[in-house]
Symmetry: C2
Subunit: 236 residues, 2 copies
């Protein structure tokens, strides 16, 4: 069944109108007709089955058949703050894979060693949305605008915070410190890693230092490894 | 320090000659000179430090300073047999990431639903080699030529075997069945997954059915998830 991402739909509605773009896709591209059923996700956990009442190419009318307000509800909250990679495709890969594996929020932090100081959130969000649809996720990860590292950590920490870095110093494994079912924010540095100052600042802001294993990982691999570990530990 | 991949070097040698390509890279591109030190990896666990005796652009001579024959020796053996993705870049991404995270052998299996029936192993191997160098791995994963699924599983299983699929049927989690420190082969299907017949054939050949979680994963994401889980469980 075809899946549409409709962030403005409310669980209470009995009828819904696809916007012009989605209507065209539904009626003209997919050639769906009256009586055909499609799936809708709202990005906030709502999963809907809807039947086409009027396959209008600009304003397709749907009757809502069923609603699951907590489809595949996640049992923890994962926020990864990662420095955008010099090669933006590497960040795009991370966003697609993290969406498939499971993530709630991504922040883009500009660090002292960041070669890339900006990123187009609208474009990156389209990659997340297509991964959401491809992997049938009812929850759409939130992608925040790029923010300087210092500003991010001074904004205050909700839940538990961790910083993954390769500088010397004591580090714990996520396995040993992660509380399953909790809210966690994990900081991943740029190519060249966080500076000593940034690590100290994060520790002072309440973040704990963690290691993601012995391997030397690229920025996007480290971010994905963290995403893997947190989801895996919450599945055990 | 600059790292070179020199698969033909032997731990016993006191002196080594870089081949023409590496000599040119060393003397002309990197402009290294007599007395400079470089690192060598042989792909079989050997990690060497060598000093340039003659920075000849076609035949650079190195004195071996030190040898570690078991650099970052892996404590388990992971063989992933994956169907090449329709979009070859997705397979290339998996090979790079799996090399960073840790893998010993990759086989490319052509399945009933495979849209891609071939892959250029020489080209894919170059991607693995660059990931080996980038992540300073002394072990170079082995990439095997594409082989039909039926032929692969009939070749016989060394160690434990698992098949990850989304068809109905009882499945275990890797956490519940993996023996740490063991040799494991994991089968990952193409877009559209394995057919029922292929799953039955694998089970009859001694493979156990596993699940990689509730999320619907792309082929390359499933393969990487399996790679991550096995390495993570062997680190615990």
């Amino acid at each position: 069944m075809h899946l549409f991402y409709t962030p403005d739909i409310q669980p209470s509605v009995k009828q819904y109108f696809l916007n012009e773009e989605e209507s065209k896709h539904c009626a003209r591209v997919l050639r769906l007709n009256v009586g055909d059923e499609i799936q809708l996700i709202d990005g906030r956990g709502g999963f809907y089955v809807a039947r086409i009442k009027d396959a209008h190419p600009k304003r397709t009318i749907l009757d809502i058949v069923s609603v699951n307000e907590k489809y595949q509800q996640r049992n923890h909250y994962l926020h990864i703050a990662v420095a955008p990679t010099k090669n933006i495709e590497r960040l795009e890969w991370f966003l697609e894979k993290a969406t498939e594996i499971g993530i709630d929020e991504i922040s883009l932090i500009i660090c002292q060693r960041s070669e890339r100081k900006e990123a187009r959130v609208d474009r990156l969000n389209r990659i997340i949305t297509s991964a959401v649809k491809q992997s049938i996720k009812a929850y759409h990860p939130v992608l925040n605008e790029p923010i300087p590292f210092a500003k991010f950590i001074s904004a205050g920490l909700s839940g538990h915070g961790f910083i993954a870095h390769c500088n010397p110093g004591a580090k714990a494994s996520l396995k040993s410190v992660l509380e399953t079912g909790s809210k966690n924010t994990i900081l991943i540095g740029p190519e060249g890693d966080f500076t000593e100052n940034e690590v100290v600042a994060a520790l002072n802001a309440g973040y704990k230092a963690i290691t993601l294993g012995e391997s030397r990982l690229r920025t996007e691999t480290a971010a994905l490894e963290a995403c893997f570990e947190v989801n895996f530990l919450n599945r055990l």
